[in-house]
């Protein structure tokens, strides 16, 4: 194996691939990444046996071949190199990297030991802009908390129906739902993607432009990224799916709202943050609605003191006092893009809705605290 490549490009794909290299003690080869040259294409792959990732780039190559190298050291080394061309050559399971004034030899391992990444065989179910999918995933995946007892909610619910893709995440205290529109009507599918997969996919897509093809097969899902810029890497990610039935979450989204407020998002965020400084250990802040008066936000703790603030807006409905965990409120507000938010409350003990104004595709449902 012998090739020449721009160090910046190499850095990018190697650091993405290395993200899956954890510290796997039972199978040390999983801490490696696989480098392969085939028909002027450089392929970099890695896996943690839940997700398989491979990135490919066209390169100038003189000789085909493959090797696996320890991901962390290889990636750290490549990223500290100066800009410019680097030459990579493999000989007798050792890889040598030459750059301006640098020369390194890194010991590799036999590529035959490396796991074989599964491949998807079926036709893509649909395709979607990568930035859209990134947006959708990042709005729901942070809510999920890994749980052994409820595996079915430890992932992102991924549902296609008609021309809509719905993504849902919950940790059983709050729930986020994002709807994305697809270019055409597709077959109805419902799967649960592990949280780690969703997070990795969102990370990979965070600064790439292109389209993503989605392939769903029994017990696995594949995402294939085709870059807009042909010099960007093509990426294929394959992951296991969580076996289980996602709960019928629609039932908990309140249909009727008895008190509602349309308020400025940043002001609201800031006032919650201020209230959080005074909140007690259970992270409670109190919202008091007395329509049409401004919304009162307050918190108090025995150790610190108390704070009250007012927030003007369009407040309607009946008067109510409701308590939230400020962290969960901020989490919801943090992923809302609009300048104004809609807050819909029913009772002090039933789910509350938070959503952007003017955007019906995102919804954040939150359980209030009961004291």
């Amino acid at each position: 194996m012998k090739l020449t490549i721009n160090s910046e490009k190499m850095k990018r794909i190697v650091s993405l691939a290395t993200r899956l290299c954890g510290s796997n003690l039972t199978l040390p080869i999983l801490n490696n990444i696989l480098l392969e040259i085939k028909q002027n294409l450089l392929l970099v792959s890695s896996t943690n046996l839940e997700i398989g990732l491979s990135l490919s780039l066209p390169v100038k190559s003189e000789k085909e071949g493959k090797i696996t190298v320890p991901g962390k050291i290889f990636s750290d080394f490549i990223s500290s190199l100066p800009k410019g061309e680097i030459k990579i050559e493999e000989k007798d399971l050792t890889i040598s990297v030459k750059s301006k004034g640098f020369q390194a030899k890194i010991l590799g391992q036999n590529p035959k030991e490396f796991p074989i990444l599964p491949k998807v065989k079926e036709k893509p179910l649909t395709q979607i802009e990568s930035s859209e999918l990134f947006n959708g995933l990042s709005k729901v995946s942070h809510i999920i908390s890994p749980s052994d007892s409820r595996v079915e909610i430890s992932g992102v619910f991924f549902k296609t129906k008609g021309d809509t893709l719905t993504l849902v995440g919950t940790d059983s205290i709050r729930l986020g739902e994002k709807k994305l529109s697809l270019p055409q009507e597709v077959e109805k599918k419902e799967v649960i993607i592990p949280q780690k997969t969703a997070v990795e996919l969102a990370y990979i897509l965070s600064n790439l432009k292109g389209i993503i093809r989605v392939i769903i097969e029994s017990s696995q899902i594949g995402f294939e990224f085709i870059p807009q810029n042909p010099l960007d890497p093509q990426i294929s990610l394959i992951s296991r799916l969580i076996d289980g039935q996602y709960p019928e979450y629609e039932g908990i989204i309140p249909q009727k709202i008895s008190t509602q407020a349309i308020i400025d998002k940043e002001e609201f965020q800031r006032k919650i943050k201020i209230a959080s400084l005074f909140s007690s250990r259970i992270q409670d802040v109190k919202l008091k609605f007395e329509p049409p008066k401004p919304l009162l936000i307050s918190s108090a703790s025995a150790e610190v003191g108390e704070v009250h603030s007012k927030l003007d807006g369009k407040i309607e409905g009946k008067s109510i006092e409701i308590v939230f965990n400020w962290r969960y409120l901020l989490d919801g507000l943090g992923v809302i893009d609009s300048s104004e938010v809609f807050l819909g409350v029913n009772e002090a003990t039933s789910p509350t809705i938070l959503r952007p104004v003017g955007d019906k595709t995102y919804l954040y449902v939150l359980m209030p605290k009961t004291l």
Partner: protein, 458 residues
């Protein structure tokens, strides 16, 4: 040769040839699911294992399989998820004061639809309670039909219905089954299930807001009110007060009340007399401990619900050792399932269950019992061992005999010997007498609890 044995032999063959980590990574949790004439269907835990085995080991596996069963020509790999056996990071602790979004619970009634009569195992130990529950739910369903046109009070025979038993014997199941049965047949019926601690905190928050009337009115509108663990009401005077009013409002118009507790009404401490007498005025039923066959039946029922199976030996082993708590029975079953699936060996299951079964119950000695009881009743131990027939000595002596029998499981003659050569019939009489007293005398039950507490906690 059966499938699991066949696969074990194949793996044993391979194990020597591979490094330990490789073997563990690729062959853990693989099983032969089925053999269809010439094709073996192999279940693997994930897609990576499937690829690896298919591409790297197919030939070897096939050769190995053919050694034992020559007609096999092909292996098909299928992914079977086994989430349970997977180790995942444990999530951060959920916020305690934050109610969860309950996907499965019926939000209005608070009932969990999982609890039904159909999955309730009936035996001698719970027959009475079950029969009453069935009759109550029937009554509730039928009376609804003519509720609209008659003004007569609904006549319900078992009101309130009071179930008591030790923990983990199915009270909650039975309680919720009544509610679910009624709701399933009569959607309009307003049934409310609430655990007593929740009820109490609701009352407290209403007191704070000064809206006691609201909660009374709110609860008085139900057709059936089910309160679990009512003993928690003890000592909470305001809650008792509110509950008393709700109770009267409901019973006046013939609405059903169902209660559960871990002890009979008379043994609940610090509860107003008027409430206690009302609890006793209805139907009181207890659930005792299931016997061996019933425990096996319960385990089989649980397996059926989970659509799995375990060898009879394991079930009998569990049933033979976990005797006093159905919840623990289920815990042991779950554990056996996981271990059996992973290790596929009876011995391993047995070994792992020992940890749960042989709970390090604090050993108490006969001397300690004597010492404690004497201390409690303020009599010198010498007197107990003597032939004295004074009342203040005889009663503690009988209590000691009872505790020897119940807590240490000693034989009647040996108890006699230990207490100054008393006759075994004397001991038998004492145990019987105290046993009767336990059933009838709530105050005495409290006394006994205190003694036991001291016994085990010092």
């Amino acid at each position: 040769m059966d499938n699991s044995l066949l696969w074990q032999s194949v793996l044993a063959n391979l194990e020597g040839k591979l490094s330990k980590p490789t073997f563990a990574t690729w062959f853990r949790n693989t099983t032969i699911k089925k053999i269809k004439t010439s094709e073996v269907i192999l279940a693997v835990p994930n897609i990576f294992v499937r690829e690896w085995l298919q591409n790297k080991f197919n030939k070897e596996l096939l050769l190995s399989l053919r050694q034992f069963s020559p007609k096999i020509k092909k292996i098909k790999y299928v992914v079977l998820n086994q989430e349970g056996a997977k180790s995942q990071k444990v999530g951060r602790k959920n916020d305690l004061a934050q109610p969860k979004i309950e996907f499965y619970q019926n939000r209005l009634s608070g009932l969990n639809p999982r609890y039904k009569f159909s999955n309730f195992v009936v035996g001698n130990f719970n027959q009475l309670a079950h029969a009453c529950a069935i009759s109550i739910s029937k009554n509730l369903i039928n009376t609804t039909l003519n509720l609209g046109n008659t003004k007569r009070k609904l006549k319900l025979e078992y009101n309130p219905f009071f179930i008591y038993s030790k923990v983990g014997l199915g009270k909650t199941h039975l309680l919720e089954a009544i509610g679910n049965e009624v709701i399933d047949f009569q959607k309009k019926r307003r049934v409310k299930y609430v655990p007593c601690p929740n009820f109490t905190s609701e009352v407290i928050s209403n007191i704070r807001e000064g809206s006691i009337e609201k909660i009374v009115a709110n609860y008085s509108q139900f057709d059936a009110l089910i309160i679990d663990d009512i003993e928690f009401i003890a000592g909470k005077e305001r809650t008792q007060d509110v509950f008393f009013r709700i109770f009267n409002n409901l019973t006046e118009v013939g609405k059903q009340i169902v209660l559960s507790s871990d002890r009979p009404p008379r043994a609940i401490e610090r509860i107003e007399e008027r409430l206690r007498s009302r609890f006793e005025g209805g139907m009181v039923a207890d659930i005792t401990f299931p016997d061996f066959e019933e425990r096996v039946a319960i385990l089989e029922q649980k397996l059926e619900e989970r659509e799995t199976a375990l060898p009879k030996e394991i079930l009998e082993f569990i049933a033979g050792n976990v005797k006093k708590n159905i919840r623990e029975l289920e815990g042991a079953l779950t554990r056996s399932l996981v271990i059996f699936e992973r290790e596929n060996s009876l011995e391993k299951v047995r070994k792992s269950l020992k940890d749960i079964i042989e709970e390090p119950k604090k050993r108490i000695s006969p001397e300690k019992i004597i010492e404690n009881v004497c201390d409690f009743f303020n009599v010198p131990p010498k007197e107990i061992l003597s032939k004295s027939r004074k009342r203040e000595v005889v009663f503690p002596r009988q209590v000691i005999m009872y505790l020897f029998r119940e807590e240490l499981n000693l034989s009647l003659p040996s108890i006699g010997v230990k207490l100054g050569n008393k006759d075994h019939t004397t001991v038998g009489y004492a145990c019987e007498k105290i046993g009767e007293k336990v059933k009838k005398d709530g105050d005495f039950v409290k006394t006994l609890e205190t003694i036991k507490e001291r016994l085990y906690n010092t």
